[in-house]
């Protein structure tokens, strides 16, 4: 590749990624050369500025026709923009939580890397959502994963954090190997790594043995990727890792990393497996054939997440199971494959982003103040800090899907999506409703603690750091806004992204 070709690419569509990359470089250099005495929180604010800059750059890219550069390995279609928006907003909020993070033993020494590792993970996620090629997709995935492994263990002297990182890296290794093994089948049968080329190739497949192999590849890729979104059967790492990891990292894993996982799943499923005919060209796509399997996994995930959550006493562990359950709801979207798959997924991920990050901001505040992660620490919160308790109540109500909150609209959309398709997924929807009812028990368990239990000790005074205050404020506002006026978000989505019609172009 000579310089001329290199310059002929329209690099401007990568501006958000370049900004993040630039900030990562800047932060690592600053961290290296700045005097030890300088508070590294400065780097956090710089990183946040970088994310906001990337967000602005992304918004200016909106509305253009889809572009692809670097021989179709990097593509910017409306799907990529819409979901990158979620990644960036999520990361910005996680950053605010991270800036206020003060573990017991301190984080001075590693605070710098704490921030730029987040950015590296974000960069990986962004690359994933824009990649048009299995190679870049995989690289993005690994960049995200490896950064996350380190982040989980950033508290080097904390055994829980170490355990969490260890478990995460081993399970991550297993998942990656399964995924890439599945990918190799697809590559072997098509001879290309480019997603759209693959789609063009597989559409003509007629040999049933080849299709069988692709079926195997589907299961391997899907199970491998289910690690990233923490759904059955690859969900078991989540509670251990979420519990041990620093709270901002847990928040990141449960929101940004999960969003990235769904981006990946949708991209691969819809581009490759939706185009594989089961019995010769023009017949039923393979993806429809395996729909029931996805539905089964979604049901299993919802049941496991919600049922096991009932017995949790540790708030972070509770939220780990809750996030497994939420991923199950999102899998229902994928399984139902309605015409509004992208819209529904996007809206629910957005709603989930706000309600879950808001909840984690409060969890971090409480666990840090009391030094314990027991749910009982929430007792009497309403008396001690009524505003915090009400904010937490909003997030919990939204997670439980109570009307008036974004979570309710999100769930409603999922129900509608699952019921409008032919044949409608009655069983899946029933399971979703039943498990949602189960979820009320543990969500309201936290509410009961906050509102109806006396506080163990009244001395604890809450001082709300500015960063957390902003996160909580934004999240409460968004959760209620999208619950009361969901069309604000849906109109934005429909007005700016051409119904994602350029996804296959």
């Amino acid at each position: 590749m000579d310089l001329e070709t290199l310059l002929s690419f329209k690099w401007s569509i990568m501006t958000p990624e370049f900004i993040i990359l630039g900030v990562i470089t800047l932060l690592s250099l600053l961290d290296l050369f700045m005097a030890k005495s300088v508070n590294r929180k400065l780097l956090g604010w710089l990183g946040l500025a970088g994310i906001l800059g990337a967000l602005v750059a992304l918004l200016t890219l909106m509305g253009n026709s889809p572009e692809a550069i670097l021989y179709d390995t990097f593509r910017l279609d409306s799907f990529a923009i819409a979901f990158k928006l979620l990644l960036l907003i999520g990361s910005a909020l996680v950053f605010l939580i991270a800036i206020s993070y003060e573990p017991k033993e301190g984080l001075t020494e590693y605070r710098g890397e704490f921030y730029y590792l987040f950015l590296a993970a974000l960069l990986g996620a962004m690359m994933m959502s824009s990649s048009g090629d299995l190679i870049t997709l995989f690289i993005g995935l690994e960049l995200l994963s490896i950064s996350s492994y380190i982040l989980a263990g950033i508290r080097k002297k904390h055994s829980g954090s170490n355990e969490s990182a260890m478990k995460y890296v081993v399970n991550g290794g297993i998942s990656t190997s399964i995924t890439i093994f599945g990918m190799s089948y697809v590559y072997g049968l098509t001879g290309t790594t480019n997603l759209l080329d693959m789609a063009r190739h597989v559409i003509t497949l007629a040999d049933s043995q080849h299709i069988y192999l692709l079926g195997l590849a589907f299961f391997m890729i899907f199970v491998g990727l289910s690690f990233k979104v923490a759904t059955a059967p690859f969900h078991m790492w989540a509670p251990d890792v979420y519990q041990g990891a620093p709270t901002p990292v847990t928040a990141f894993l449960s929101v940004v990393s999960k969003t990235a996982g769904f981006i990946l799943i949708v991209r691969i499923l819809m581009v490759i497996f939706y185009n594989i005919p089961t019995e010769g060209p023009g017949s039923m796509p393979l993806l429809i054939k395996v729909q029931d399997y996805i539905a089964f996994l979604a049901a299993a995930t919802m049941i496991i997440g919600n049922v096991v959550a009932l017995r949790q006493k540790n708030i972070k562990r509770l939220f780990a199971y809750s996030s497994i359950a939420q991923a199950g709801y999102l899998l229902v979207v994928v399984a139902s494959m309605s015409a509004f798959l992208f819209d529904t997924l996007w809206f629910y991920l957005g709603a989930y982003l706000f309600m879950n990050l808001g909840a984690f901001a409060i969890i971090q505040l409480i666990t840090q103040k009391t030094g314990s992660e027991d749910i009982a620490e929430f007792a009497g919160l309403y008396r001690k800090a009524p505003i915090l308790a009400i904010a937490m109540a909003v997030f919990i109500l939204s997670l439980a899907g109570i009307p008036g909150t974004a979570g309710f609209i999100g769930k409603l959309n999922i129900f509608m999506g699952a019921l409008v398709v032919e044949p409608a997924h009655y069983v899946l929807v029933s399971i979703m409703i039943a498990t949602t009812v189960v979820s009320y028990f543990y969500y309201f368990g936290v509410m009961v603690q906050m509102f109806f239990r006396p506080a163990a000790n009244d001395e604890v005074k809450f001082k709300l750091p500015a960063g957390l205050g902003v996160v909580i404020g934004v999240c409460v506002f968004a959760t209620i806004l999208f619950g009361v006026a969901p069309n604000v978000a849906l109109d934005f989505l429909q007005g700016n992204f051409n119904q994602f019609s350029d996804f296959f172009q």
Binding site: F227, P233, M236, V308
Partner: protein
């Protein structure tokens, strides 16, 4: 008018503010409530004036899109809404002011004001709603406000019971409303009033369906407006603070049923049967409640039954195609009934009892309340030149013009009853010897009397906006540009007015003979069976007790059996299974990563095997 949506927000603000900070403000809460309700009144007045000169304003935005269906939310200012806005916000403002004196010293003073704010917000929101769904939401919210305020003295057993009863009785009606609403939506595909009317007019809905939905919706109105047979909650609701009775159970909320029928009038008028049902229920309620009112001994209960009866009048008017008459009476009634309740509150405030047999001779002691109460009584009795006279006259004319001779004469008799029992009440409370145990009776403070004076003025003059002598301004304005609502004024024979006058004067005269001059025996009904029946309100509550409650109790016994042995068994089984599963799940989560990886592998293997076997690829 574009900003009419702000009007309900003032009381909402008051509610929110007082809920959060009321505890610290204590009785200063009143000022916030009063100021904010004044703001919404002033704004409503501006909207009303603007509405005189400009057309109906409607603003909506899409609230939720589900597939092809778009649910909208917004507000509408048409003639009826604009009028209702002023009535509701004015009475609310006056009651806010009055309550400052009446509730003085109550421990939960700020809570009371917060609830008032919530109720006013809901009521104004209801009035502004441009579609059935929004109406329904506010309809329920209004019910909640009423529930909270009836049960305000929750430490009183009767108050608790009354609140529960009100909630349940109106809920029965609401089920009808909900079903009717859903049927309409199914038929028309929209909750919008305009679209429903257009569809009805275009004949897109079958006539049976129109009748069915109209009657179902009317059932909702029956519950809310205390019409027979769902009227029993309204007299019990008098357990709430008296200003609340004035606001909710006289002037505004109970009129919501009438308002609902009025705003859906084009739907009702498309079905003869529905209109006739409304008229019959209305006329029957009017005379039925009035006859109970003849013998009640509790000052507030007399007024409550009179409210039920007057609401029946309004329904009769609407059912007789007298749209203007119904709305007109709704307006005048709001003023004079609120006045009567506030004056009754002032009396109760002074003598600390509600039993009229223990009162008497208060005219000399309550020099302000007495004349004000008299004005209200004259107005409700339909004495010429007072507002009630004109609106009642309109209703009688409408009933006559519609050809329902029976209903017309029922209404005339009810008017006689009304005049009689209202003056019975007046004479028993104010005339005669003052009783020895009422020496220290003091007039209420001006914060209570001034709102009454305002209402008294309105109770006199409000009738002149629509008279056969000076022009039917209100009627013309209400029906302007909307032929479906009928004519602004219905011509009727002039003897009706004379009959109405004679009847009301006769009632007053009779009451005077019995209760003031005492030339006739006071217990004219004596211990007769009729008296007992009337005093016991036709045994409706007992009837419910015997039939509905007995059946329900029997049913509940059977259900309890099922509950304990079958349902609970299942519940225990399910919850046991769920928690057992949870236990198993968390036990399974051993912390060993080997197991986690193994689970993933096993899961993958199972998936692949099942796929291979069922997919037919293994040949």
């Amino acid at each position: 008018m574009e900003n009419a949506w702000i009007i309900p927000l003032f009381p909402l603000l008051s509610f929110l503010f007082l809920i959060f900070f009321g505890k610290r403000l204590k009785e200063a809460s009143a000022y916030i409530g009063i100021l904010l309700s004044l703001a919404s009144f002033v704004y409503s007045l501006l909207v009303l004036f603007e509405r005189f000169s400009s057309p109906t304003h409607k603003a909506e935005s899409v609230w939720l899109t589900i597939g092809d269906v778009q649910l909208t939310a917004g507000f509408e200012v048409n003639q009826l809404n604009a009028l209702m806005l002023v009535i509701v916000s004015l009475v609310s403002f006056l009651v806010h002011t009055y309550s400052k004196g009446y509730m003085h010293g109550d421990e939960r003073f700020h809570v009371y004001y917060a609830y008032l704010g919530l109720f006013t917000f809901a009521m104004l929101g209801l009035v502004l709603s441009p579609n059935l769904l929004q109406t329904y939401i506010f309809w329920e919210l209004v019910g909640l406000g009423s529930f909270l305020l009836i049960g305000f003295y929750f430490y009183k057993e009767e108050a608790k019971k009354a609140a529960k009863k009100a909630f349940i009785m109106t809920r029965i009606g609401d089920v009808g409303l909900l079903i009717g609403m859903i049927l309409l939506f199914w038929q028309v595909g929209s909750f919008e009033y305009d679209e429903i009317f257009a569809a009805v007019e275009a004949g897109a809905v079958s006539s049976t369906m129109i009748t069915l939905t109209a009657i179902l919706i009317f059932i909702g109105a029956v519950g809310k407006s205390g019409q027979f047979p769902l009227h029993t909650w309204l007299p019990d609701a008098m357990e709430g603070p008296t200003p609340v009775s004035a606001l909710i159970h006289a002037a505004t909320m109970v009129a919501a049923g009438v308002y609902l029928v009025a705003s859906l009038f084009p739907l009702f008028s498309a079905s003869e049967t529905a209109l006739l049902t409304v008229a019959i229920i209305g006329a029957f309620t009017a005379i039925f409640a009035a006859s109970i009112g003849l013998v009640q001994k509790d000052i507030k209960r007399v007024l409550a039954y009179s409210t039920v009866s007057q609401l029946g009048y309004m329904m009769l008017a609407l059912g007789s195609a007298g749209y203007v008459a119904g709305v007109f009476h709704l307006m005048t009634h709001a003023f004079f009934k609120a006045l009567l309740f506030l004056a009754a509150g002032s009396v109760i405030h002074a003598v600390h009892t509600q039993d009229i047999e223990k009162m008497g001779g208060l005219w000399k002691k309550l020099r302000v309340t007495g004349p004000l109460f008299l004005i209200g009584t004259l107005a409700i009795s339909g004495v010429p030149l007072f507002s009630g006279f004109f609106s009642k006259d309109e209703i009688l004319i409408a009933a006559w013009a519609n050809g329902n001779t029976v209903l017309f004469w029922l209404a005339v008799v009810a008017a006689f009853f009304t005049a009689f029992y209202m003056f019975r009440l007046f004479f028993m409370v104010f005339s005669g010897e003052s009783r020895s145990d009422m020496k220290h009776v003091k007039e209420s403070p001006s914060v209570m009397t001034v709102p009454m004076m305002v209402l008294a003025i309105l109770a006199v003059v409000a009738g002149y906006v629509n008279t056969p002598w000076f022009g039917t301004f209100l009627g013309d304005w209400l029906t302007e540009g909307n032929p479906a609502l009928g004519h602004g004024h219905i011509e009727g024979p002039s003897w009706i007015m004379i009959v109405a006058t004679v009847v009301s004067l006769l009632g007053i005269f009779l009451a005077w003979l019995i209760y003031s001059k005492r030339s006739l025996s006071r217990d004219w009904l004596g211990a007769s069976t009729l008296y007992t029946i009337l005093y016991n309100k036709y045994y409706i509550d007992e009837l419910y007790e015997l039939t509905v409650l007995k059946v329900t109790k029997g049913l509940s016994l059977i259900l309890r059996f099922i509950e304990t042995f079958i349902v609970e068994g299942i519940v225990k089984g399910v919850s046991g299974a769920v928690s057992g599963l949870g236990h198993l799940g968390s036990r399974f989560q051993s912390g060993q990563i080997q197991r986690y990886g193994a689970v993933a592998f096993v899961g993958l293997a199972i998936l692949i095997v099942v796929f291979a076997v069922t997919g037919g690829y293994l040949k």
